[in-house]
């Protein structure tokens, strides 16, 4: 097989510029309509989610205090896992996007909210709201493509390090909250000067402060409240953190990496119009189908396409918006990527495995030969 010499046509070119602009205007119209409708019911919704989360957290911690009884430990761990998932996904992530800024409630302000995870909220706002949402799926700019440690796109050049892709992915999933916490630090990039080094030092200080507070709370203070039975809340808290890590990783990796989502180069997205920006968000995102409870636990990131089109609209609106967006996509012939969790995540896993190897089997053959001969690959 020979490599194609002509560059593949960009998926961004499959609509005419006029079509893209008119698609963008339709998206703007949806946005304006929802902005006009926002009100009491959205406020009541997010407050009810917070109420459930706080209840689950208190209930879970109380049960873990009596965690020496196995049913109490199991129920407490389950409740605390759900609490952390709701706190991070449906509440924290969405509030920090400014989805509820219009309520003017300091407790729901995107600027002031802090969440129950290792990543400091202010750093998250930069790495996620700005870097990821503005430069979605642009290889080289969007660090959510592989979090700086995985190969998630053919456009990332292969190296032998990526043979470990499945292992790195499993480690990232297990310690996801720390992976996210280190995100803004860009540890894989060497500091480019003194200013950069000082900036990184500040970021690292922020991360350390938050990690310390979280660790002391989950692994020292709460276990201490149980005295000699400290091991039960300790194990429950660790399990809840792990459950949240695995769930968040699964949902988030289904957002942009299932088969059929596109990545882009800096060149093709250099001078974008608003319509092109909208179009790129749809091409680079994928949805998950499921019931209402699934969507809430997924923080409505199961409507990744709608979330990327309208990151600051209240997430409880995505379900109704998705009907209109899907209909518009059909009319314009824009691919709308949606599937159930098992098939979308299956295709993500397949991609992680496939991209561990180079595209050209000859290259791999060469490495195998070198390793066999005892040379440095």
């Amino acid at each position: 097989m020979t490599a194609t010499l002509t560059p593949p046509t960009s998926p961004l070119d499959s609509l005419t510029p006029e079509q893209i602009e008119s698609f963008g205007e339709e998206m703007d119209a949806i946005r304006r309509r929802v902005l006009g409708e926002r009100g009491e019911s959205d406020a009541a919704y997010i407050r009810s989610v917070i109420r459930v989360q706080r209840g689950l957290e208190i209930g879970g911690r109380a049960l873990l205090w009596a965690g020496v009884l196995p049913p109490a430990w199991l129920a407490g761990t389950a409740a605390l896992s759900l609490s952390k998932i709701l706190d991070n996904m449906e509440i924290g992530h969405n509030v920090m996007h400014g989805q509820y800024d219009w309520m003017n409630d300091p407790k729901l302000s995107g600027e002031q909210f802090e969440w129950d995870t290792a990543c400091p909220a202010d750093q998250w706002r930069h790495s996620h709201n700005y870097m990821h949402h503005t430069h979605t799926n642009i290889v080289g700019k969007d660090r959510d493509i592989g979090y700086g440690i995985l190969r998630m796109s053919e456009d990332q050049p292969w190296s032998p390090y990526y043979l470990g892709n499945p292992l790195w992915a499993a480690l990232l999933a297990t310690f996801f909250q720390y992976g996210v916490a280190l995100h803004d630090l860009e540890v894989e990039n060497r500091p480019s000067g003194d200013a950069d080094r000082a900036e990184k030092r500040e970021l690292a200080k922020g991360i350390w402060g938050k990690v310390r507070r979280q660790t002391v709370r989950d692994y020292v203070l709460y276990p201490a409240l149980s005295g000699p039975l400290f091991v039960f809340p300790l194990a429950g808290n660790a399990t809840a953190n792990l459950a949240r890590n695995l769930w968040a990783f699964t949902i988030i990796f289904c957002g942009h990496f299932p088969e059929g989502t596109h990545e882009f180069s800096e060149e093709e997205t250099g001078d974008e119009t608003r319509g092109q920006w909208y179009y790129r968000q749809v091409l680079g995102s994928a949805n998950l189908s499921g019931g209402p409870l699934f969507h809430i636990l997924a923080g409505n990131l199961s409507f990744q396409i709608e979330h990327h089109l309208f990151p600051d609209l209240p997430a409880n609106r995505y379900a109704e918006i998705s009907v209109e967006v899907q209909e518009a996509c059909e009319r314009y012939g824009v691919p709308y990527n949606v599937g159930p969790l098992h098939s979308q995540f299956g295709s993500v896993v397949a991609k992680i495995l496939r991209l561990a190897l180079p595209e050209s089997p000859r290259r791999l053959g060469g490495i195998v030969k070198k390793v066999a001969l005892g040379l440095k690959p």
């Binding site: 926002r38 406020a43 109420r51 400014g98 219009w102 003017n104 409630d105 995107g110 709201n129």
Partner: protein, 360 residues
């Protein structure tokens, strides 16, 4: 428990509670239990005149009290969004668990109409700590003159009630301006006080009902001699709409200003709205003021040399979201305008219509 004792305990509790603090859990039980935010429950509602409502509030433990004449910001949630307005408590100072505010309807006023129509016992309102220099000096001077128009009577009511509660027996006069007796806030109580207190002179002018009060017409220097012989010596407090205060300032222009205290509130709905490129942008935290160029507020901050965090510059990421303290802005993407004070706005996609103040 005294606040001093509570503090170390509170810190430990907050460390255990984690990122949401104990308030994040306490408010789920009762919104008034929060320790870090002033809130108050409406205890009683009295619709004293056809266009006003008087609310008796029970503040929570975070409330630190006020001095007679000062104002507070009251936050009300309407259709999911919190709106904040300034009101001067009318109650006597020193009562920690009681606060009274009287809200007068403004024809266009979102908050005043909401409270006049919908306030009921049990409703929870937000409060800010009391502010303002419009308050009684200590020690008190020999005589006191109060001039109030419309809802401007409320801080004067606090002053009167506080004076009498403290046993002040010097001469006090109140010039009270209202459209007619039916719309004169606190009329019955004032008449009762005037009957009980020989040192208190109450002079009313009903601007739309000539002959109904002791005086007639709008405030003018000719109203002063009737308030007592020594008004020029008196500590004077005036509060009301801008035309009344302009007339008062004009009268006190000749060296007597030292003893004149004025307070003016213009409800935001009535504040003048300018055009893009008119007026000035004030950056409150930096103490910088620059003419409004009509560009986005982010660009204007940058041009004024004020460091402002930003990200996408297209209204997506909210990195540049900052608090607007006053003024009217237009969202360049939605075209919506808002004159709401104390509101978070996205600087990169907002432009100012006339004067605007940012907390930057």
């Amino acid at each position: 428990m005294s606040p001093q004792l509570a503090r170390p305990g509170l810190r430990l509790l907050n460390a255990i509670a984690g990122p949401h603090g104990i308030d994040g859990y306490l408010e789920q039980i009762d919104p008034l239990l929060v320790t870090g935010e002033c809130r108050a429950e409406v205890a009683a509602v009295q619709r004293g005149t056809e266009d006003s409502v008087t609310l008796t509030l029970r503040p929570n433990r975070a409330w630190r009290g006020f001095r007679a004449g000062q104002f507070v910001q009251v936050a009300v949630e309407i259709d999911g969004a919190r709106h904040q307005r300034c009101y001067s408590p009318a109650s006597q100072e020193g009562r920690r668990r009681e606060l009274e505010i009287t809200v007068k309807r403004h024809p266009e006023g979102l908050v005043s109409n909401f409270l006049a129509d919908r306030a009921e016992p049990g409703m929870v309102l937000g409060l800010t700590p009391a502010e303002g220099d419009f308050r009684l000096p200590q020690p008190l001077r020999a005589s006191i003159l109060l001039i109030g128009g419309g809802s401007g009577i409320t801080p004067l009511m606090a002053i009167l009630r506080t004076l009498f509660a403290q046993g002040y027996d010097g001469p006090v006069a109140l010039l009270h301006y209202a459209p007619d007796p039916a719309r004169a806030i606190y009329r019955a109580e004032l008449e009762r006080l005037a009957a009980q207190r020989p040192g208190f002179r109450l002079l009313r002018s009903y601007t739309r009902a000539p002959g109904a009060g002791e005086l007639d017409g709008h405030f003018g220097p000719l109203h002063l001699p009737q308030s007592g012989p020594c008004f020029a010596e008196a500590e004077t407090f005036a509060c009301g709409p801008p035309p009344l205060l302009d007339a008062v300032r004009g009268t006190w222009a000749n060296g007597l200003e030292r003893r004149l205290h004025v307070e003016s509130f213009v409800p935001p709905d009535l504040a003048p709205v300018g055009e893009p490129g008119e007026g000035a942008i004030r950056f409150a935290a930096s103490g910088v003021e620059a003419p409004n160029s009509g560009a986005s507020l982010l660009e204007q901050a940058e041009n004024a040399g004020i460091p402002a965090a930003f990200g996408c510059r297209m209204g997506i990421c909210h990195t540049c979201t900052r608090r607007k303290l006053a003024g009217t802005h237009r969202n360049l993407i939605t075209g919506e305008t808002s004159s709401e004070p104390d509101e978070e706005i996205q600087l990169c996609v907002s432009t100012a219509l006339g004067d605007l103040t940012l907390a930057l």
